[in-house]
């Protein structure tokens, strides 16, 4: 087999390894928001170190592949897209860390909001998994369909904001709104960055920029 084929496979494998760690971080977020388990929150923060390290590794490998194998055409896009996806994954990991930090600093969230958060998180995970799957199989057609999963997240968040806004107006709630809203943004952003991954994939395969908007 041509050396670059194996090298690129190994390189992508690094991306998948990273993506699994990032996923793990996000599977725990609803849990800790519910229970306020600071231990677990800390372990998410710890995991982020590994994720950051993974991104560094991917960058280094990418640089080595670029320097040593001078890839061209789709090979080249594969490497560049790898770098970009790693950047997005790192961010997505960051958002989990950010949520963990919220848990450490704040009380468990209001029971009323919990179902929203649970829905948001499970939508996100579904979107995330589907995204990494299409990335593995390089399926552009599926990728184009997936973007609507992101809308699920956003619409649930919008509903939660409404609820929150209402509660806030009615002074029903004792939640620190500023912090809570900031925290929620993380889910939204994570979805956005997952969407970026889809865009990168489409670019890798088609050599065309695609913007989900």
């Amino acid at each position: 087999m041509v050396k670059i084929t194996t090298e690129l496979e190994m390189f992508e494998e690094l991306v998948f390894l990273m993506s699994e760690k990032v996923r793990r971080m996000h599977t725990w977020t609803t849990d800790i928001l519910k229970t306020g388990d600071k231990e677990k929150a800390l372990s998410i923060i710890e995991l982020d170190e590994y994720v950051n390290h993974d991104e560094e590794l991917i960058n280094r490998r990418a640089l080595e592949v670029l320097a040593l194998l001078a890839p061209l055409a789709s090979d080249l896009r594969k490497v560049i897209v790898g770098i970009k996806i790693a950047t997005d994954l790192e961010r997505i990991g960051d958002y989990a860390k950010s949520i963990a930090r919220y848990v450490i600093k704040n009380e468990p969230i209001n029971e009323a909001y919990l179902p929203y958060v649970e829905t948001i998180n499970s939508s996100f995970l579904k979107f995330y998994d589907a995204t990494m799957d299409v990335y593995r199989v390089k399926d552009v057609k599926k990728a184009l369909e997936l973007a609507k999963l992101d809308e699920e997240i956003d619409s649930t968040i919008a509903k939660l904001y409404n609820h929150l806004e209402k509660d806030n107006k009615d002074h029903e709630d004792r939640t620190n709104v500023v912090a809570f809203v900031s925290m929620l943004r993380n889910f939204e952003r994570a979805g956005d960055h997952t969407k970026n991954i889809l865009e990168h994939l489409i670019y890798e395969v088609t050599n065309q920029r695609y913007d989900f908007g």
Partner: protein, 251 residues
């Protein structure tokens, strides 16, 4: 962009073996066109059709048209001596004549007899300057061309071609006998030359084609598989075979 040479339906035969099959290509003026492809794909053959060097090989035949300045180069009636004066050629291995540096530059000029004797000094200087060689040799114009290094010899061959005032310069792997440093000197020179000349260069090295050319043509088994802008070819080739070749997955 002006098209300098228009090749249409070119077929070429060595005896009964068809080495080029229905080639269509436009060579743009003041651009560098690189020809790449695996060994034996017909790159050198293609270049030999353009200045009719194949006349020197027995039992060869070309059909189709290579339009250049209103004539078809392939026509029997084309004066090849004149043609080769207009279309210079630089070879794989530097092949200076065993004469002094200045004699090398003047060699063809003298034999064509179309330039004034009193201009000879300036022809020498200009040609060598254009070939980025003047500063290195100006103090030893009367020394043998063999006293130069390989890279300098190759630039001397370019200079001697420039002295006949060609429009087009054909180069068949001009750097494959040179080390990387001499190679990069020639590559830099090419960027200068394209301001005044149209250059067609055969190269074994895709990296070189990528670095230096504006257009690239990819040949395979005597066919032209893909032709287009170099940056497109190397970032997003249209044909699967091109992609396989440039990413090293061919063969």
């Amino acid at each position: 962009m002006t098209i300098k040479i228009k090749v249409e339906n070119l077929n070429f035969y060595y005896g009964s073996f068809q080495a080029l099959q229905n080639i269509n290509i436009d060579i743009h003026e003041n651009r560098i066109t690189a020809l790449i492809g695996p060994s034996g794909c017909g790159k050198s053959t293609f270049i030999k059709t353009i200045d009719r060097m194949y006349d020197l090989i027995e039992d060869t035949k070309a059909d189709g048209t290579i339009a250049f300045e209103g004539i078809n180069i392939l026509d029997e009636s084309t004066d090849v001596v004149e043609l080769r004066k207009r279309i210079g050629m630089v070879f794989q291995k530097p092949n200076p004549f065993p004469k002094s540096i200045s004699e090398n530059v003047l060699y063809a000029v003298k034999r064509h007899g179309d330039q004034d004797k009193k201009d000879f000094p300036s022809i020498i200087e200009n040609s060598l300057r254009k070939a980025s060689l003047w500063d290195e040799v100006k103090h030893k114009l009367n020394q043998s061309a063999f006293s130069l290094s390989g890279g300098q010899q190759q630039r001397l061959c370019i200079a001697r071609t420039l002295a006949t005032k060609p429009d087009i310069i054909l180069m068949d792997e001009p750097t494959s006998a040179l080390d990387p440093i001499a190679t990069s000197k020639i590559e830099e020179l090419l960027q200068e030359l394209k301001k005044e000349y149209t250059v067609i260069i055969v190269t074994h090295s895709m990296q070189q084609a990528a670095r230096i050319s504006d257009y690239t043509a990819f040949f395979l088994n005597g066919e032209l598989i893909e032709f287009g802008e170099t940056k497109e070819m190397f970032t997003a080739p249209r044909d699967k075979r091109t992609e396989d070749y440039i990413t090293g997955r061919y063969g």
